[in-house]
């Protein structure tokens, strides 16, 4: 009997087995560790994603600076995780739907959300969630993991209508301790949804390290509990994330159901601008992880292959700075909302019961 095993209690039969795999293409020097996939044959796309990652990083740094000077609220930086978000933005189609948590500016930008809209959101203005670009995408989601079931609902709608669209939801390692993740994963398999789960395993949930969050060997194996495939990718390797993510998205689009992709990254920044990570982790740990920097790695790859050089780099930096400055200016120039507008999108039509309160606000607004 193949698969049977003798143990102290006698024979027990193996009824299921699972493997979790890890994919990486580029080493830290940007050199292939194995034959590169087809998408590496399109250097233009990779260059353009590299540019997006640098823009993202420039934006990120500026957002932190704005917060420090009081022009922006609490902001969640993305340093070190740019490759994951660039891949998400690159691989999804326009008609697909992104259901993000709060750290995916990079993906949002690639999908057409503007920097000004992002700044409005982080600057405490709901208008930032009414972005012009990907109208079906969800805005950021602050209550951890609560966006994950939304993604299943969006995917249900796509499936119900027979549309070849895919939903992608992103979340952190911490989110995988919440019931919503598991409930949704389980249902996504039952309903065979066109849904890709992307875990940004950046090793920390604020101050709680990944190993205090869960004891499983990989986060990818959490998909085993739902009965579908989970896998790890090197989240600092743009080519690896894109490759595995496209495979998952293609599979979902072809009716193959859900996939979980655990992108192994590292949060190089504080959790948010309200956090001071030096309280709970060593600078040495952070330093050690800087060598895996996804932006540097893909630049090295491009440089190694002569797709990129210092000159281009300097021009790019300049362009990014200018683009960010422009967006910031537009943000700062945005006229404030009228206070009473807080009632304008409460219901489609404001019930009489609340009309008086809205009026009160008109008055309150005039006074201040």
């Amino acid at each position: 009997m193949a698969g049977d095993q003798l143990n102290a209690e006698g024979v027990s039969r193996r009824v299921a087995s699972f493997d979790i795999r890890y994919t990486q293409y580029l080493d830290m020097e940007g050199r292939p560790v194995q034959p590169l996939p087809a998408l590496a044959d399109d250097p233009e796309q990779i260059v353009s994603l590299y540019r997006a990652m640098v823009l993202h990083r420039t934006f990120d740094a500026k957002a932190i600076a704005l917060q420090r000077t009081g022009s922006l609220g609490t902001y969640a930086p993305c340093l070190g995780q740019e490759a994951v978000f660039a891949a998400v933005g690159a691989v999804m189609r326009e008609e697909d739907v992104l259901v993000p948590y709060y750290r995916e500016c990079g993906a949002q930008l690639l999908r057409g959300v503007t920097m000004t809209e992002l700044l409005l959101y982080w600057g405490g203005d709901e208008r930032g969630m009414n972005f012009e670009g990907p109208r079906g995408d969800f805005p950021c989601c602050v209550p951890i993991a609560s966006q994950i079931p939304h993604a299943a609902g969006v995917a249900m709608a796509m499936k119900y209508r027979g549309e070849p669209r895919v939903t992608v939801t992103v979340f952190g390692d911490g989110a995988m301790s919440k019931g919503e993740f598991y409930e949704t994963a389980n249902a996504a398999a039952v309903w065979n949804l066109p849904l890709v789960f992307v875990a940004n395993n950046n090793q920390w949930a604020i101050s709680v390290p990944r190993n205090e969050q869960t004891r499983c060997e990989t986060l990818a194996q959490k998909a085993v509990a739902a009965g579908f495939a989970g896998e790890q990718v090197d989240g600092n390797d743009l080519i690896a994330v894109m490759t595995r993510l496209s495979a998952a998205i293609d599979k979902a689009r072809d009716g193959g159901g859900p996939t979980l992709i655990e992108a192994v990254t590292y949060r190089l920044s504080d959790h948010t601008t309200a956090d001071d990570a030096s309280r709970y982790r060593s600078e040495a740990e952070v330093e050690e992880n800087r060598q895996y920097d996804p932006v540097i790695r893909i630049r090295r790859y491009l440089v190694n292959n002569a797709y990129w050089n210092d000159d281009k780099e300097q021009r790019l930096e300049q362009e990014c700075r200018e683009a960010v400055e422009q967006a910031v200016q537009a943000y700062l120039d945005t006229p404030p909302r009228a206070p009473e507008s807080m009632f304008d999108h409460l219901y489609e039509k404001l019930p009489v019961a609340y009309a008086g309160q809205r009026d009160e606000l008109v008055h309150k607004g005039e006074k201040s």
Partner: protein, 326 residues
């Protein structure tokens, strides 16, 4: 015109709208082949198929969250939560998402979902099957909270709830699911959602109630009538947004008000009505606003539930008190 019970009226409204609008999807636990534990969805899966009427895994947070996602894509999901005792896992989704998706996104994404749940006591159900916690939902901005109390209104209100472009919590008093039959015209006509209904006109006292308790409230009004007390009975129907004007107008006429609900008293929705009277109807009040309610204790298991629920006698006694006041 068909004679229907309240639960049959719910079924008919669901069927009507499933038929009329492809965007309507009914989902929940045991609502498919089994037709729901109260049979509210009986026959629907057979008629409309598994894509339209679907059993979910046993996970209320999931169900509510999935409905939010579907609604954001323009579907009109109607969720059944099997009993209100199991609704609490949905509150995070309802409060943090469903009720504010439109507001957050400035109208870009909307959330036209209906969350149905049977609620209330009186059917000798097991533990956790008999509570009334509508006040929790009535406190959440951006929601509508609707509670029918008769077959015809259940039909029209549920249609309105489904067609409403915003999220509606629709609570069905299971104690009266089969208590009465009433002629209902299954013509797809919805009822307005922002209005209280005056069930009985009267000049002496205003009785305000909703859901199952309206049964005892009306019995009390009838008994009082025999004794020459002319009670006006108001069915609140839509707790949120509240049509307070109908209540204020009534009390302006009667000068006296008794609010009846089976939920626990403290911070129950009766408090909101009394507060509105204390704020906007004070000069019209000849007597204290009395609340006849469930007690501020855990809803007991069924041997004592009869003692927990507001009784006809308690309502009559409260009316006597406010009539004799001052």
């Amino acid at each position: 015109m068909t004679e229907m019970t309240l639960v049959e009226a719910v079924n008919s409204a669901l069927a009507y709208e499933l038929d009329a609008d492809d965007n309507v999807i009914v989902l929940g636990e045991d609502i498919g082949v089994n037709g729901g534990v109260f049979r509210a969805t009986v026959g629907l899966q057979e008629r409309f198929g598994e894509q339209r009427v679907l059993d979910t895994p046993l996970a209320e947070t999931l169900i509510a969250g999935v409905a939010v996602g579907m609604a954001a894509q323009g579907l009109r999901p109607i969720v059944e939560i099997q009993f209100m005792g199991f609704i609490y896992s949905t509150i995070d989704q309802i409060l943090n998402h469903a009720s504010r998706l439109r507001n957050r996104s400035h109208g870009r994404l909307t959330c036209p979902l209906v969350l149905r749940a049977p609620f209330g006591g009186g059917i000798h159900a097991p533990e956790h099957h008999s509570e009334s916690t509508e006040a929790i939902f009535a406190h959440i901005p951006g929601l509508r909270v609707v509670i029918p109390s008769s077959p015809a209104r259940a039909y029209g209100l549920l249609l309105a709830a489904i067609r409403d472009p915003d999220p509606v919590v629709f609570l069905e008093p299971k104690r009266i699911y089969r208590l009465v039959k009433q002629d209902v015209v299954d013509n797809g006509e919805a009822l307005p959602l922002d209005t209280c209904y005056i069930l009985r006109e009267g000049a002496d006292v205003t009785l305000v109630s909703w859901g199952g308790s309206l049964h005892e409230t009306q019995l009390a009004a009838n008994a009082l009538a025999v004794d020459g007390v002319d009670a006006e009975v108001i069915d609140v129907v839509t707790l949120k947004p509240l049509d307070v004007q109908t209540i204020l107008d009534s009390v302006a006429k009667t000068g006296r008000c008794v609010v009846v609900h089976e939920a626990a008293r403290t911070a129950g929705f009766g408090a909101e009505i009394a507060a509105q009277l204390a704020e906007h109807g004070l000069l019209n009040l000849y007597a204290p606003v009395r609340r006849v309610t469930g007690y501020d204790t855990v809803m007991p298991l069924y041997k004592l539930e009869g003692y927990y629920l507001p009784s006809v006698e308690q309502i009559i006694a409260a009316v006597r008190e406010v009539l004799e006041f001052g």
